[in-house]
């Protein structure tokens, strides 16, 4: 047998990924040697890992795109920015977990799984190739299935985990089936090669290509909970431990949207007309389902789940616009949504009392009299989510709406505007509970400095971005380097 030469690939662009993987395994080992009351160190270490990974990403990142591992990994401004958002989302979710999860069994595994989920998202953000994309997606999904069902003694947590797992596997099957069609036509997994292959394939291949497109869109739409592939979202959000709900509402959405944009821009540019038609319908459906169904919810986690579906519908306007402004709008939206959503969930986690969280809308009644600070912060997040001017959420909507109008989708922007008015109703209803109703339940707040700091930081960020949106918009536009 001839000896085989193994050339060592360029590993420098993957330093953040390797660091996170090592730290995740280290926390898994460390947890075995920690006493029960010191288990929380794993969480602090996970936060440090996110911060350090951010530093490493800024260090290895560059303006031009660097490819590594035979074109199976790409590092560009787009992926670097997405990774920074993912780190922020994960770090905040870990902070929310510190107090929440400490009584549970398997604290170390919990943080390990969160870091591995983050690793999966990082790989997705850097995937120039269907193989890397799918593996990253599965790494992320597998961790989130377990995390959703983490509270095994709570029936609805197990139920949510199982539901999410079964529907998620089905969506993965759709995605793979679609990829197999695209591979069959073009003979490649590489996004760019698939793109040129589709452009040069004759009209005979058109049907197979369209079928591949539809299945790939269905698979990815599931991950970002775009209607009609949103069915798992309310149940999974309600059943999951609240910090995991916060985590799922931001980080996987960033990764999913980033990989969706990359697939559309690199692999399917010649099908732009077709996919814009599909996404227009999905966006309208998503806005309708999200904003109308949220009105009927009494549980705030379920309400925020439908709110996420609605927001994903708004975000899709940026994808539908199909130009640099639109994609930058998606990043702006996700950046601002990160703060709003994390902040709102932080207040929900803080209201945890004796195993029952402040989960029903009624529980928020009279909050302003007990804790005016939390009430103010919650009010700011909710107004921002509703898109009230001069808070962060307004600019998020503004950027994608303008992008949609300028690319000639005026009707979509009008529909989106109508639905955001509908959405404002149920957000402001919670504000009414907080400020104008009498207290109905005894509040029992978790006192945790880091979590209180999270509330303060996210509230300040929502206001600051609302007053000075331009820096965020500029950074997001610069982050499109390497994709367009």
């Amino acid at each position: 047998m001839t000896p085989v030469n193994f050339p060592l690939p360029n590993v420098v662009p993957l330093i953040p990924e390797m660091f996170v993987a090592t730290m995740a395994m280290f926390i898994l080992m460390l947890d075995l040697f920690l006493a029960k009351e010191k288990k929380v160190w794993g969480g602090y270490l996970a936060i440090l890992t996110c911060v350090a990974a951010g530093g490493l990403t800024l260090m290895v990142g560059s303006a031009e795109s660097v490819s590594a591992f035979y074109g199976f990994f790409v590092l560009d401004a787009f992926s670097s920015y997405a990774k920074l958002l993912i780190y922020a989302g994960t770090a905040l979710a870990v902070i929310l977990s510190l107090d929440y999860i400490k009584e549970e069994f398997g604290v170390g595994e919990y943080y390990t799984l969160m870091l591995f989920a983050m690793l999966g998202m990082m790989i997705m953000a850097s995937a120039p190739n269907f193989v890397t994309m799918y593996l990253g997606l599965e790494l992320m999904a597998l961790c989130t299935y377990v995390l959703v069902g983490f509270q095994r003694d709570v029936l609805r947590s197990s139920e949510a985990g199982l539901k999410y797992f079964i529907l998620g596997s089905l969506a993965s099957g759709f995605l793979l089936y679609g990829i197999s069609f695209l591979y069959g036509v073009t003979g490649s997994f590489d996004f760019a090669t698939v793109g040129s292959g589709i452009a040069h394939s004759g009209s005979g291949a058109r049907f197979a290509v369209l079928l591949g497109l539809v299945f790939v869109i269905a698979g990815l739409a599931f991950k970002i909970s775009l209607a009609p592939f949103h069915m798992w979202t309310p149940d999974a959000y309600e059943g999951a431990p609240t910090p995991i709900t916060a985590f799922m509402s931001v980080a996987p959405k960033v990764a999913g949207l980033v990989i969706l944009i990359r697939v559309l821009v690199d692999a399917l540019p010649s099908l732009q007309v077709e996919y814009i038609t599909i996404f227009s319908w999905l966006a309208v459906l998503s806005m309708a389902v999200g904003n109308l169904a949220a009105i009927a919810q009494r549980n705030i986690k379920r309400m925020l789940a439908y709110s996420t579906i609605g927001h994903v519908g708004f975000i899709m306007l940026g994808v539908i616009a199909g130009n640099a402004d639109g994609y930058a709008g998606v990043l702006v939206y996700m950046t601002i949504y990160l703060f709003m959503s994390m902040g709102a969930f932080a207040v929900i986690v803080l209201m945890n009392r004796e195993g029952i969280q402040g989960e029903l809308l009624d529980d928020f009644a009279g909050l302003s009299k007990v804790r005016p600070g939390y009430a103010l912060a919650m009010g700011l997040y909710l107004f921002s989510l509703a898109g009230i001017p001069f808070l962060g959420g307004f600019w998020a909507k503004y950027v994608v709406f303008i992008a949609a109008i300028e690319s000639g989708h005026l009707y979509l922007a009008i529909i989106a505007l109508l639905f955001s008015v509908v959405g404002a109703f149920y957000y402001i209803r919670v504000v009414k509970y907080i400020y104008f109703d009498d207290q109905r339940v005894e509040f029992n707040f978790v006192e945790n400095r880091l979590m209180q700091a999270t509330v303060a930081v996210t509230a300040v960020a929502v206001v600051a971005i609302g007053i000075f949106p331009q820096p965020v918009i500029n950074i997001c536009k610069a982050a499109l380097g390497g994709i367009i």
């Binding site: 193994f6 035979y70 199976f72 591995f116 193989v131 597998l142 197979a208």
Partner: protein, 194 residues
């Protein structure tokens, strides 16, 4: 000619056994049909000179995964008649979607892209090549990143399965072997002054 005959034999049996999986009422029979289906798929791989994948399919899927299926089916008493109850209710909508999808797939498959004429016959080019060596070379060079991520996925699956199933119950009595070994006579027996 012989090869063609074998192809139709394996392919036909695979389709028939796959139908058997879906249609048989007895779950054990369904699992058996699935095993048979995997054997036939392995046969198809052998016809393509992909002996490594064929053997892997038999070893892992038939040898490990299906045995696990068998255990699960035997240990869980699932009432499948009850699971089928809602079927008629969902049949119209589900049936329409399935039919549309089926037509689309047939149209895509029949559009000529995947026809034997479109894809050149490699003959038996792989006959002189050691599949296992070539797959190994590709896996550890070009697909190294994917290979490593797959390893992490396996680790996560392992950790996840343990997290979701292992619980130390407070009310259960556990053996502490080191305490048992280190036990002294004084611990078990003491003199009582009468």
């Amino acid at each position: 000619m012989l090869e063609l005959g074998f192809f139709y034999l394996f392919a036909g049996l695979a389709v028939v056994s796959a139908l058997g999986v879906v249609l048989s009422r007895n779950t054990i029979h369904a699992v058996m049909f699935l095993i048979f289906c995997f054997f036939n798929a392995a046969g198809l791989f052998f016809l393509l000179d992909a002996e490594f994948i064929g053997i892997i399919l038999i070893l892992i899927y038939v040898g490990a995964v299906m045995v696990l299926f068998m255990f699960v089916v035997m240990m869980l008493e699932v009432n499948f008649a009850k699971l089928r109850e809602g079927m008629l209710q969902y049949l119209p909508l589900g049936g329409i979607i399935a039919l549309v999808l089926f037509i689309e797939i047939i149209a895509a498959a029949g559009s000529g892209v995947f026809s034997p004429e479109g894809i050149p016959d490699p003959g038996h080019a792989a006959q002189q090549v050691n599949n296992t060596v070539e797959i190994g070379k590709m896996l550890y060079t070009k697909y190294l990143l994917g290979f490593e991520i797959a390893a992490l996925i396996l680790l996560v699956a392992l950790v996840g399965a343990i997290v979701l199933t292992l619980r130390t119950r407070k009310d259960a009595k556990y053996q502490n072997i080191s305490r048992q070994v280190n036990v002294r006579p004084e611990d078990r027996m003491y003199k009582v002054k009468m």
